[in-house]
Amino acid sequence: MALAVVVLARTRNLFAVVVLSGLYSFLMATVLLALDAVDVAMTEAAVGAGVSTVLLLGALHLCKSEEAKPAHRPWLPLALASVTALVLIYGAMGLPDFADPQAPIHQHVVPRYLQNEVDVPNVVTAVLASFRGYDTLGETTVVFTAGAGIIALLRRPGRRARVEEAPPCADLLLRLIGKLLIPFVLLFALYVQFHGDYGPGGGFQAGVIFASGIVFYALIFGVENARRVMPDRLVERMIAAGVLLYLGVGVAGLLLGGNFLDYFVLDPDPVHGQHRGIFWVEVGVLITVCGVMLKIFYMFASRGRGEERG
C-alpha cells in the first residue's frame, strides 16, 4: 500500500493516478477487514474503489489528463512533511499499545453498546442509527448539502444541457454481462440495506451500492437511457426526501411523547419501537445517499467537453 502511495505521488499521468488510487482503496478495505471493521471495509470498497474512481475519471474527462511539470523543487514540502511525521510519531509513542484491552477507548461507553439493549445483533447499525442518531442525522445533512452544492456549481440556469451523447457501448459481451449483473447488484444493495441489522450493512453502504448499480448501467447503455430509468427530477426529490424521512422519524418520536429521535415510543413494545426507528432511519439514509451519488454522477456526465468554452 505504501508502494502504491509513493508511485502515486510521483506519477504525473492523472489517469494512472486515478487507477492507482482505486487500487489503494481496495488495499485499504482489506486492511480494515483485517481490523474487524467489516462495515467500514464494505463502504470503503464500494465508495473508494467504485464511486470515487468513476467520479475522478469523469472529472478527468472534463479536464486535462496530464499534470504539468512542477515549477519549484519539492524540497520544502518534503522537509515540512518529514518534520510533521517525526512530531506525529513522537506523539504516537505516548498512545496505548496496539490491541491493548485496557486502552481508554474500550472502557467508556462501549461496554454498554455491546450489551445489546436494542436487540440488533450488528452493533455498528445499532450505534449508528440509535445511540448516535443525532450524529448520523448530521452526516446525512452534510451529504445532502454537498449534493446541493454540486447542483449549484454545475447547473446551467435556464439552458437545457446540450448533451452530445457518445453512442452507447455496442460491445455485445459488455451488454450481456451488464444485463446479467445489474439486477444482482441492485438486489445485493437491498439485501445489504434490510439485512443490516443482522450482518454488515446499512443505509450508507446500500445507497452507494445501489447508485453504483445504476452508474454501471449508465456506463454501458449510455447516460440518457439511465436517465429514463431514474429521471433527474426523481433523483433530486430523493435527495431531499431522505433527510425529511429521517427528520420525520425524529419528529414522530416527539409527537408520541418522547425526545427527538427517541425510538422507544414508536411502538408499545420499546424494542420493537427501536427496530422500527432504526429501519426508517436507515431507509432515509439510503434514499439520500443514493440520490446524491446519482445526481453527482449525472452532473459530471452531462457536461460535455466541447461546450465548456462557450
Binding site: M28, A37, V38, A59, A81, M93, V109, V123, E139
Partner: protein
C-alpha cells in the same frame, strides 16, 4: 516499537497525503492527496478499536470478545461524507477549468496576476477622469 506499528503506518500515509497536497500544483492531484490523508485518519480511528482474538462487532452467542464498534460507526459515515466532499471539490475543479482553461495552480495564479495588472491602470485612469 512493534506495538506502535499501526500508528507509524498511519503517520506515513498522512504525511504522504500532506506532501501531495502541498507539493503538487494540479488540483485533481491535490484532491487525490487529500483523500489519502483522509484514509489515514480512517486507519487512525479503526486500528485502536481492534482487540487480539476479537471478532467483528456482530453479536452471536459463540463469541465473547468484539472489536470496538464506535470507531466503525464514526468512520463509516466519514467515508460517505468524504466522497461527497471529494465530489464537491471535483465540481469546483471542473468549474475552475471552465473559467481559466487550466487546473494548474501556478497558471491560475499567473492568470490572476495578469488580470489584476490589466485592471489597475484602467482604474487609475478612471479616477483621474473623475477628478
Amino acid at each position: 516499537m512493534i506495538e506502535h506499528f499501526s500508528y507509524i503506518v498511519t503517520v506515513f500515509l498522512m504525511v504522504a497525503g500532506l506532501y501531495v497536497v502541498i507539493a503538487r500544483g494540479n488540483l485533481i492531484k491535490k484532491l487525490v492527496g487529500l483523500s489519502i490523508f483522509q484514509t489515514s485518519v480512517y486507519l487512525l480511528y479503526i486500528a485502536p478499536g481492534k482487540l487480539i482474538g476479537g471478532t467483528a462487532p456482530i453479536l452471536a452467542p459463540q463469541y465473547g470478545i468484539y472489536s470496538n464498534p464506535l470507531p466503525h460507526v464514526l468512520i463509516l459515515t466519514a467515508i460517505v461524507v468524504g466522497i461527497a466532499t471529494l465530489a464537491l471539490g471535483l465540481a469546483l475543479a471542473v468549474r475552475i477549468r471552465e473559467v481559466y482553461g487550466t487546473i494548474e495552480e501556478d497558471e491560475i495564479l499567473a492568470l490572476d496576476h495578469q488580470v489584476e495588472a490589466a485592471q489597475e491602470p484602467r482604474g487609475e485612469q478612471r479616477e483621474e477622469k473623475g477628478a
